[in-house]
Symmetry: C2
Subunit: 326 residues, 2 copies
């Protein structure tokens, strides 16, 4: 590995000058610039990130913490993050949040010792502990979750989105609409979405019925069965995640019911999973990739530490239909 001194020697200049050229600063003639650039090419020189970071107290690493690496929602946000990061010459470092907050703090400390340029938290709320573990100089932002605290975040209005989803089902003529809720403890957003469902049903003077899942695929069927026991007249199910929605569609078919003829299913998030069933899931969409991109932008533009609320949208596909005549 060639160092800056090697390049300097080769080009017949000082290391300082090489550094200036590499970093696009001012203070050298065109002739020296050419010579230095030639030397860099000849020696295949690449600045050492570690040395540079040590000196400048900043590296171009962006940390991303997600509940589950293999989670579809997190994957799509990560795609956006990765794109935006790469475009700006940043790298992405990955961590899992699923294992308790002590563990997250560990990641954050690591990121701090790497002098990370910023960290993005997917589907998890920022706690004061986290903020502290990161130190004062590293920006932190939450994505796909609304922070009731003053920490910055990028999200949709989950309450309103759930309201709109429920409302859509109601407008289709459904009166018995069950909610496949997520674990309120694991993802804050679930609670808020529940509220949106409750409000829409109450506004319409309709009875609410709700069972808890954990947002993942496997939790859908049992929760669905409980839902059906509690209200056998259900003609629509609103799942607070696409995974649960997809498993609900499958479970319904397994038990001999037709979707959407007998029962409609609405999902949430518009991840790829929503397209992996037949009929494909209608779903409340949030712009996951865009959120990831915006998060990177946010971290890198020091000034604006404002939170952003993006627009949700209803995506209608085959899994929802007007209430059956029976």
């Amino acid at each position: 590995m060639a160092t800056i001194r090697d390049v300097a020697r080769y080009a017949g200049v000082s290391p300082a000058t090489v550094s200036r050229v590499v970093n696009g600063l001012v203070g050298y003639s065109l002739a020296t610039q050419k010579r230095v650039e030639g030397a860099i090419l000849a020696l295949d020189y690449e600045p050492d990130t570690l040395a540079r970071g040590l000196k400048t107290k900043q590296t171009s690493v962006i940390g991303v913490l997600a509940p589950l690496v293999s989670d579809a929602l997190a994957s799509e946000v990560m795609t956006g993050v990765e794109n935006a990061a790469r475009q700006r010459g940043y790298s992405v470092m990955l961590g899992r949040t699923g294992l308790g907050s002590a563990h997250v703090a560990g990641y954050l400390r690591t990121l701090r010792t790497y002098r990370s340029a910023g960290v993005i938290l997917i589907s998890a709320a920022i706690t004061p502990d986290m903020r502290r573990a990161l130190g004062a100089n590293v920006p932190l932002i939450a994505v796909a979750i609304r922070d009731q605290s003053h920490f910055p975040s990028i999200a949709i209005d989950d309450e309103q989105a759930a309201y709109d989803g429920t409302r859509y089902l109601i407008d289709l003529g459904h009166r018995h609409i069950g909610l496949l809720a997520g674990d309120p403890n694991s993802v804050l957003v679930n609670t808020v979405r529940e509220l949106g469902y409750l409000r829409a049903m109450t506004d319409a003077g309709l009875p609410t019925v709700l069972e808890q899942g954990n947002s993942l695929y496997d939790s859908g069927p049992p929760a669905l069965r409980r839902l059906l026991e509690r209200d056998p007249l259900l003609t629509a199910v609103f799942a607070l995640s696409d995974e649960m929605g997809a498993s609900a569609v499958n479970e319904l078919q397994r038990s001999g019911r037709r979707v959407p003829d007998d029962i409609s299913v609405l999902g949430f998030d518009n991840t790829r999973t929503s397209q992996h069933v037949y009929p494909a899931l209608s779903t409340v969409s949030q712009p996951l990739e865009e959120m990831g991109e915006l998060a990177v932008e946010h971290l890198l533009s020091a000034g604006n530490s404002r939170s952003r609320i993006l627009l949700h949208a209803l995506v209608t596909r085959g899994s929802t239909a007007p209430v059956p005549p029976g």
Copy 2:
């Protein structure tokens, strides 16, 4: 941020001694150890990774390069990688390979300047260029792909796995079995799997019929339709990825065919996607998470640079059945 000198001063020892304690070396009394540990706690000291890496020429970063961050297969391998890495105190840095090899080389150079402890390539073959871009000191291993070159890899025997999958369908009584192939250019493994299918069919004296997809969900339906045009008597479809398998199941149902009553579908890889359809996909399974874990082990245990071939298995679920009597 406290530095090692702060700790040293606080504990009344030299930086060298602090370093020794921190790194668990020998050469200090129990008493000093206690004092140093106390100081570390008091000052909330954390060694600076950059400075350390600069000195030791090694950091605990493991690079992972995947074709698509949001790809189910890659996600599951990454889960394994992340687990194993974290256990050993390593961090994971993420990159995408989907954009052409010049771009991959860029990542590799970054990883080199970070003095990465090693890099893992998912679903992509190692090229001499890559090897060169990384420099001589950073180990590199491919996962979920068999390298015909001498570079290390962790994979299943894809040819045999495809053979066994095909054979399973044949044993079920199927005679007209179509192959939903992947793009041979994008993932090497597809070619090999094709060979396995071809061999099994030939061995059984059966006609082969094959259409190309690109392994992703959306490429399934059109390829399936072409397959059905070419052989309307098809009673089984072998998809070389679960995504294509899942979309095949959905497409078949959309067109009024029953799975598996009219037609069986077999997938490949046993990713989560295979469970996201109804009936769930029978599939040829490869131990993705385990592969990720082994890859980390491999990188970190300098000596054994041997490739490993893991066992595949047939997972039978609802999407396959004996050939219909008609």
